[in-house]
Symmetry: none
DNA sequence: AATGAATGAGCGTTCATTCAT
DNA sequence: TATGAATGAACGCTCATTCAT
């Protein structure tokens, strides 16, 4: 039992360290030696827990997605779909404020990573993104059924827009230095999503 | 004069080649040898025109931004700010449809590239982004002044939302395989920007 | 006593496992982990019995040589030196048929192993080879004394030829897939050794 | 042209250096850095001429085999098959005396090299060995047809014996320090091959 | 100015060996 | 004494960049 706990602790420590290092340097510039040093273990030790650098990265991604997903999932029981949207967005923003570096990591997959052959990662991304989208679709469908949002635009299209607004807000937050207060932007975001820019 | 033209032609040829290669492989996986081969020149020749790999990348970015900016600039003379938005978005989408690979390149900067020290690129990105934003801000300010859009949300905030909608649309387009028709999504996008998701 | 027996049993089990693994992969490609796994013990355990990988190898060699030597020794009491040769060769071939892998191991020392500094192994080889040669020399000397073989060629030279014929036969046997029947080639070999290729 | 010559010269220089290093240290212990240093080039340069370490090795082997084969081939026009055997053996021994290190290299393939998966090398070996054997078979068949050697043993079997005698002689020569005089052992060897050890 | 080969620093990964439990 | 995880030195190979021609 102790063994198992120790192993798990090592694994987590390495993932934590890797998250910091990847967040600081990006996938390519992060060296396995950096990660090991940050975790306070020998270089070889990392390989006792992960097959290679890519798997370290993949594991962080998976762990993070799982975490965020679970936290968002909690709010899906809210009756009002609009409230569900607000709560989900707020939760996602809160998570980012707590784990700033993670986002940098998240973003870093968007591009340089595994461009061509190694679409594997992208597949993983897509799969995870799909889970979020499924929640979003369900909520929007519910809202449409209740007449709360327009039905002349598909929920898929609306979900794209909603995620766009969310991502843009996050990007801007990161660009402006991750100042506290991101989570307060959830409600204005949803308001805009609902009402648009047209003067009332 | 001929000299100058020849130099310019070489330069352009290399940038064209590099754009294709970066678009295909991403910054990290693209080798200088690949670029040289694609351009039909020797590896060393690339270094007669660009200091290093990074400068090749930077130059593509700059050239592209300039191109897009000029094409968007043309529409800024439109009287109606809403029309300006529509035209600008349409123009940006049209450009992407014509130069698909460029976007991949653009995206590739989002992440792995220049993560830490090399914030230089990001500065360049920010600068260019700022130019677009300035246009966007001006248009939105104009629209607000004419009472076409709400004034209880800052134009800066609205610009963020607008760019978010645009980016999300582009992302989705790329993810679904760059099928023709992106430019047709400009109007629905602006409509949504103006009206939001609320049932009318 | 039990202790000692247990230790000996462990040692033998590890050597057996190592013989299989070395035979399968060769010295370089065989990992200590492989050997430990094959023996059903932990990696560290191997080091309780052998100083290092090299000593494991050396021990196998020694054990094998001892075994073969003892089996060959039995036949040295035969009166007729020619019969002694036949019996010895037959015995060696029989051993190889029973322990195919061992030969692979034996061969694997011929080359990559211990090339430079590590001449130690070669010394051990030479020493063991010398024991076989001593038997061979004695037999040939006996045969020469009885006028059974020519005396115008030194027994040392004849022993070299005899071992060459033996090795070549073994090599060919290995190259053709270790098919059963090697031991049947002992007599034709000795016949050739005695009579040569000249048409009678 | 100069280019081609220069390239060829580099290639040869690297192969020469590699032959010395492999001969000194064996395949495994020879480092690419050693080879590069011995050749007086940078480590990376070796990779401009050979895909990897294995290919360097393979190339040496091939080059050597070709050389020896050509030298032996010259003597195949001799009328008398026995003379052909003598000349071929003498030629092979002469080559070894001139290129001592090569044999060590040759031997080093016998074992540690490419044990399991990498049977490729062995295939190459077998192929080259086959060429020598073909010559040997032809000569022996010729001798048998003329009634010079016995016909109750297959030429294939006799070729195995002949190569065994040759290899054993070489081995002994190497073991005793590569003293000059190897080529003088060709005739006694053939004599033994023909007459065997039986007292006349 | 173009060429294309030489350069060599740099890094992911392996695995024999050690050591705390 | 067995365990099995931690260790870290070692090395093949890549590729951006330089430079002689």
């Amino acid at each position: 039992m102790v063994r198992t706990e120790t192993r798990a602790a090592y694994r987590e420590a390495i993932l934590d360290a890797a998250t910091r290092v990847f967040g600081r340097l990006g996938f390519q510039d992060a060296k396995m030696a950096d990660i090991a040093a940050e975790a306070g273990v020998a270089a070889g030790t990392v390989y006792n827990y992960f097959k290679n650098k890519e798997e370290v990265f993949r594991s962080i991604l998976q762990r993070t997605h799982e975490l965020v997903y679970q936290r968002i999932l909690v709010h899906q029981q809210l009756e009002d779909p609009i409230e569900r949207m607000r709560a989900s967005t707020r939760e996602a923003f809160a998570f980012l404020e707590e784990h700033g570096a993670l986002f940098l990591l998240y973003v870093s997959i968007g591009g340089g990573f595994d461009w061509a052959q190694k679409r594997v990662e992208q597949a993983l991304m897509v799969e995870n993104t799909a889970r979020y989208l499924a929640l979003s679709h369900a909520t929007l469908r519910d809202a449409a059924a209740r007449g709360l949002i327009r039905s002349d635009v598909s929920v898929e299209q609306l979900a794209v827009f909603l995620s766009g607004l969310t991502d843009a807000t996050i990007f801007t937050w990161v660009r402006t230095g991750c100042e506290p207060g991101l989570r307060d932007q959830a409600d204005p975001l949803i308001d805009f999503f609902l009402n648009g820019a047209r003067a009332p």
